[in-house]
């Protein structure tokens, strides 16, 4: 097999193809980001946020103010939840975290706490609770494997109330969807 020398015109054409492809992919990336980061304003009980656009928003119940589920996620639908809990004035964040963890243990299958620590979230002190659980379809006719879900709660304690912001995602999507959640977390005001 003999290889011919590449002419200058060929070289320019080759560079042009790479450039056009790179520009198309870059435009595709910007478009993807614009869809994934699109948001709608949310406001309830003194809590405001920029909620993801196009996500399913079921009617919140109990302490929940807001719940949004990404129905396009593979496996367990990535979920954001904002809850508000009334607490005594002197209850520390650690104690609220224990209450939240206990509630999760009652509601979620195979719930395990992975880590908990005090963190700074966009200039605000919060308590971070990382956990894992298994989501299994209660319909016994569904022949599908249960999904492993990772979650993180950020607990903000403020004058007799605690705002809990939860992020739950399929373990395969957790890291991929985290940046979108951080945008949401940053937008929350109360």
């Amino acid at each position: 097999m003999h290889t011919k020398q590449v002419s200058l015109g060929d070289r320019y054409a080759e560079i042009a193809v790479i450039l056009v492809t790179a520009i198309a992919l870059l435009l595709g990336w910007f478009y993807k980001s614009s869809i994934e980061n699109a948001s709608l304003p949310f406001n309830a009980s003194g809590v405001t946020a920029e909620a993801p656009s196009g996500w399913l928003q079921p009617q919140p119940s109990g302490n929940e103010l807001f719940r949004a589920v990404d129905i396009n996620s593979g496996g367990f639908g990535t979920t954001y939840i904002i809850s508000k809990i009334t607490i005594a004035d002197d209850v520390p964040a650690l104690e609220v975290a224990s209450i939240v963890a206990l509630a999760h243990a009652q509601d979620l299958l195979a719930f395990r706490v992975l880590n908990q620590q005090e963190v700074q979230v966009y200039g605000r002190t919060a308590y971070e609770l990382s956990y894992v659980f298994v989501e299994s379809n209660p319909d016994l006719t569904h022949s599908e494997l249960p999904k492993v879900v990772r979650g993180t709660d950020y607990i903000f304690v403020n004058a007799g109330e605690a705002v809990v912001v939860s992020y739950q995602a399929d373990e395969k999507n957790y890291d991929l969807d985290l940046n979108r959640f951080l945008l949401f977390l940053k937008s929350i005001k109360f």
């Binding site: 097999m1 056009v20 492809t21 198309a24 396009n72």
Partner: protein, 287 residues
Amino acid sequence: MAESDARLHERKHFWRDELLLIISMVAFVVVVYALDNALDPVFTPSTLLFAGVLLALVPAGIWLVFFNLQDRAEPEPKGYVLGIFVLGALLAAAIGIPVVESLFRVSHWAYTSTVATILGGILVVGFTQEFLKYAAVRYSIYHTDEFDEPTDGVIYATAAGLGYATVLNIQFVVSNGGVDLGSGVIRMAVVALAQAAFSGITGYFLGRAKFESEPIWWMPLGITLAAVFNGLFNWLQGIVIQPTVTLSGSTNNAWIGLVLATIVALITTGALLWLVRRNIKHLQTTE
């Protein structure tokens, strides 16, 4: 003079085989679908996976058989054609699928609206696939003596496209742990026909780029056209195969998808043949 002759060579056998490939693909689907319905075979998970992977290899196998038959009349190094097929498959597995599925996560956002489906299909899926099929030819056989006539562009790009399609089909089978033979075989034929048709467009532009002094925008135009057709086809395919839900149940429209893919493949092959003939006539009058 020899180079001039090569450029004026239409390679009738190749075009006949393209047509036979399309017809055989449809016949293959009909046979597998009928056998699946008649015999209603029972598979274990592993045999279902194995059967799915075998079916995924059939479209490329059919093409290679026809190519081998015609090759006796108009020799083209089989090893290189097979090599480009493997290269297309490797590029799909190593770059194409990871870029589309993991980096861009197309399935996560591209089906949220019609505009997103079209733009995602063109800008991300179309350009990624068409660039990789172009690269499989451009950075291997293109500058060798074996690429000695414009139609070689279509031949080698089709081989790359079928390699790409084979990996897409195998990935579909493996990620689903096997497929229903009836609907699975339709999907495989659709993917193979579409990938072969769109890579044919890229191949036509590659062939002319090598043997005629085309402007700098020629090849980018070829890739862009192939990517646009690729994206539009996927969008249209998504519309036509949507199941029809009625009070008496739902209807699977996968067959309409196959009809669409067959029409697209026939039109593309016809258009490429017409373009090649027109080009030959033009060269004959100018030389």
